[in-house]
């Protein structure tokens, strides 16, 4: 019995003396009067902006069509997962990984895809949105490589659901981050691919087109200036915006016409958009995107 008592005493002492961290009180005192409530942005507004941001899948499709080769080094390695501890990082990188998953999907790199699914599931769980991933189903599908297509499809669809869900749960900041992360990664992939295929006009055009998207994203960020992290990211995006400011997008409006093709009436949009973009512009954008993304994924 004496030994037990000694054991308990030592145990108690041991557990008391390890308090090297500042205590709860210190933390509570450090909280200033800044309100912790949400930004109070109208959901509708956010939703309308979010909907205009292209899905990462769309960008990836473009890449595939451009004939470029699969390059896993331009993706965010799933090994970086341990680094994401705050919700801010988690949400951003959930978006990043979503894009990476789509990229692997398009190139049929299923093995890499599985890794991303696992990372995505992990981040989603921590963000309390794990219910969109039925791990049992995923596991079952993953045992057979023939199922991988459907597996990836499910995951991608889940992404859209998560976006909507977060918005409905008043956690739109996460939704914004998720999309931003996805967009950043898509930009990164596009820029990197474009750098290797300088003659691909379509890629360059796509990069140019993102000027509009960026403006909208930055608009969204203005709602969250109270959030330290988001304000910081917003500042980084400002630098990108400055680079984009050097690009002009000319939109020439022409009335639409209706033609009959094979007995069906088709409305033809005759407006044209021209983008003035130089190689230097692309280079600059690529570098800034690279900087921001590095910050995001590290």
């Amino acid at each position: 019995m004496r030994l037990i008592t000694i054991g308990i005493v030592v145990f108690l002492l041991g557990s008391c003396s390890s308090g090297k961290k500042p205590d709860e009180q210190a933390f509570l005192e450090s909280l200033d009067s800044t309100n912790t409530a949400g930004p109070g942005v109208d959901e509708e507004v956010i939703n309308s902006i979010l909907e205009q941001i292209p899905s990462p899948i769309e960008i990836s499709m473009l890449l595939k069509e451009s004939g470029s080769k699969y390059n896993e080094t331009i993706l965010n390695s799933s090994n970086n997962l341990p680094k994401y501890n705050s919700n801010y990082k988690k949400a951003l990188n959930l978006g990043v990984y979503g894009t990476d998953l789509g990229y692997t999907n398009i190139f049929g790199r299923n093995q890499d895809g599985i890794k991303y699914i696992s990372s995505i599931k992990s981040l989603a769980d921590e963000l309390n949105i794990g219910q969109f991933f039925d791990i049992a189903t995923i596991g079952r599908l993953a045992t057979n490589s023939k199922n991988l297509d459907s597996l990836l499809l499910i995951t991608t669809m889940n992404f859209n659901q998560i976006n909507h869900y977060l918005q409905s749960q008043s956690r739109d900041n996460l939704s914004v981050l998720l999309l931003t992360g996805g967009w950043l990664e898509a930009m990164q992939i596009t820029c990197q691919t474009a750098a290797k295929n300088p003659d691909n006009a379509e890629l360059i055009e796509t990069i140019g087109e993102q000027k509009i998207i960026l403006e909208q994203i930055m608009l969204l960020f203005t709602f969250y200036q109270g959030d330290e992290n988001m304000a910081g990211l917003s500042a980084d995006l400002d630098a990108l915006k400055k680079a984009y400011d050097k690009i002009n997008i000319n939109y020439t409006y022409k009335e639409s016409t209706m033609e009959i093709i094979d007995g069906v009436a088709v409305i033809k949009d005759n407006s044209t958009t021209t983008i003035d973009i130089t190689k230097e512009n692309i280079e600059e954008i690529k570098n800034i995107i690279d900087q921001i993304r590095t910050k995001v994924i590290s």
Binding site: I4, G7, G14, S15, P82, S86, S119, D125, Q169, E228
Partner: protein
Amino acid sequence: MSEEILKALTQLFAIISKQDGGVSDNERGFALNFFQQELEKSAVEEYLNLYDSISGYHEQTGKHVDDRSNQPTSVKDSIRTLAICKKINKTLTQKQKVVVLIKIVELVSSDKQFTNQRMEIVNAVSTVFNILQEEYRLIESFVVSEKVSSLDFADILIADAGNEKSAPLQKHLHAHVDGHLVFLHVSSVEMYFVKYLGKDANNLNGFIMKPGRVYLFSQGSIIKTPDGGALYYSDLIADFNEEIQTIKLSFKATIEEFTFRNGVVGLRDVKINEGPGKLIGIMGASGAGKTTLLNILAGLEKPGKGSIKINGFDIHTDKNKVEGVIGYVAQDDLLIEELTVYQNLYYNAKLCFAKVPESEIQERVMKVLRDLGLDHRKDLKVGSILDKQISGGQRKRLNIALELIREPAILFLDEPTSGLSSRDSENVVDLLKELSLKGKLIFVVIHQPSSDIYKMFDKMVIMDTGGYPTFYGNPVRAITYFKKATNQVDSNRGQCEVCGNVNPEQIFNIIEARVVDEYGQPTNKRKVTPMQWHEMFKSQFKPSAVEDTREEPPKTLQLPSRLKQTIIFTTRNFLSKISNRQYLLINLLEAPLLAILLAFIIKYKSAPDGKEYIFRYNENLPAFMLMAIIVALFMGLTVSAEEIIRDRKILKRESFLNLSWSSYLFSKLAILFLLSAIQTFTFIAIGNWILEIQGMTWSFWLILFTTSCFANVLGLNISAAFNSAVTVYILIPLLLIPQMILSGVIFDFDKLNDVLSTKGKVPVVADMMTSRWAYEAMAVHQFRNNEYQKGYYDYEREESRADFKSAYLADELKNRNQFLIDNLQSKNDSIQKLISINNHILYIELINEPFKEGIAQLNLKDVFVGAGYSKEIGKQLESYFDIYKKHYQQEYNINAALIEKKMSFYEQQGFDIQREKNEFFNESLSDLVRNISTKERIMEYNGQLVQNINPVFQSPKPKNTFDYRTAFFFPEKNFLGITMTTFSFNLIVIWIMTLLLYLTLYFELLRRFVDIFEKVNLPVKK
């Protein structure tokens, strides 16, 4: 007697008889007689010649008789005498020297020439022989005296027809003897001599006693008078012994019939009445019930019909009156093999004599060891049968010593000579005889005794097949009795006339003699059946009456207090453990080896990039924790499972001491708990170190130690209940595998057979498993209190609660409300049923809901339990659920933001959050305790909503004060209105289970249960 000694004696005889005028014919006749007794005819002449030449028999024939008296002893003769005596001194035992001295005195007295010179020489001889002066005088008077009245010594006993002593000190025995039989007791060597003064032809062991001659009255001797009276050695000894006469002891056994558990009759009609100072043998064919009889006499078994009484106290009903009176030496060794001879005895003595000071205990131990010739072996380990350190005889003697040291009044021994050499056997029985002479009553089951041993017994009980007693009386008489009964020729002779040997085998040859068929082949039929023998016995023998004293029997036992007993037991136990190197080594190395093995195997490069080991991503942690618990259980069980079985024999012996069972158990527990503490500590310290589980060593240790202690007590229970170690080891899987099945880790509690499982609660059967409590405590404690999680747990808990309410519960309740609205008018039975369920669920959820904005005025009981629900209320509730959802969304966001803030706060303070999380937090464990993989995060079970996700963030909702049940991995438990952390609560539960097991152990419930079970399963077969 060796030639050398005989020569020396001859010279001595001659020198003495030569003094004072030379040899008389009487003296020479005495010497001749002596030679004839000791030597073959051919050698007699040679020795007689030697005698004659020294004594100068032939030279003196012409000399005158008168000048005898004044010649001084020649210097030459004196020196010669001394030299001879010294020679004798070196070769003869003290007993033999006493015999020699008596012979010499007899020689002198043969001619009645007690001149100074002669007596001087005799006196000198006695001095050289180291015989006390007083004793010499006693011997001299005994040999010389012809008058009874002149023998006034306490060591003289006169048996004659008279009723009075003739001198005040001497002892007297009434017997039908013509003249007197004079007995001498030489106390220094415990020998008896007899001399007859009278005219009858008395018979000593079948030989005619010459009047005036001194005979050695050896063990088992009988003197028979011509008219048939007999004087037995044992009776005389008892009369001599004052000690015995003052001892008040009566032993009365009446066994009418004893039946075994299987219905077979073991003993019939046994009556034994004895007093102090007797050595009683029990003999019988195998299966005659010798050991059974002994066990019943010793009180180990109840005598069925009948009683065993010591001084009138029944040994079963008046237990405390006869406590410590009985000693029992079983046939098997009852030694603690790991201890030395000395330690075995010492701790036994410590347990018997509470008030004797330490130095005296040590002295007593040494004395007993010396008495038994074990003193030079005292520091040897007893060792097992296979690893013998001391001989069989020594073991046996030590067994007896264990009983001797506390000097019980009645001692029972089961075949103390089996497996011993004839010399060892004799030593052992000698010892017993000596004890009986000190007044002890000793019962011995003996098998094939030698003649000498057989004769040492005062009485013999002979049993025949089927438990029939066929003889009870003097051992030598037994032989004549059976011979007579079968009309054998020399039926009067019990022993060999020439050598005095008896052949106990004869008895069994007679008892078991078989009928011979016409071809001369013995058949299976016995000439005399056991029953016939028994009838014959009953008709001829009446048990002698023994004075019935109603005093408490003598005892020397002083039991120490319980605490002291515990300390003594523990020390003894401890010493025996540490002296067993193998045991110690295996037990101390087992844990660290297992820890190294386990931890080494399951440590892998767990980081997502597969380059290094990161604790956070070690997916084996949950399995490691389960294994740690299984190891603790296993080590705890194996270490204790044999403890009591191994001690069972020792316990049997110590049961006569009535030592405290709880002290014994406490001593076991003290040692086992200490061992468990060390084992679990080394295991978890090494395991945690290898797997880099930080900050959890003491808490994990406490859990494992508790678990191991539980297993210790469980092991002791089975050890106390079953007979063999094999049974116990077979039982271990039966005890351990359910612990694994129902640990909650291998099989999900929600996916067990529906008979067992309760959704949302740990099944009751699992609550009986230590593994489940230990695992839960460990997992929850690690998750909740690790250095990383500690800082966020409370916020994450709030966050999780809010998330569940906003994301799942709000919609669930809203849907159920919608159902109520939609089916308000329905009369359909099945719908009515659903309505009542939904009512119930909404009621339960809302009544416990702190946030009631918008429905604060509603009387919920009225609405859901009564019939107060209406469409309006339904709509009101509908909008309430929208606000409810918003409220908790906000709540969630607040907490999520707080967590973020806290992280950045810590980061500002210079803490590396990522490093901390990698070191202290484990993803797999987190997934487990948060039940991430569940498909149904919310479910309906038995009319209640059950939250399956995040058990580790939930709080118990007890139905009543006794409702301790929660789902697995709840962070807190509620019982009797007290909320405790799972860690403390579960530990308390295991300790309570341990305590309960201790109680079942203390009352030996399992053993009793097993006994009942055995009875039921062994149908009576005859």
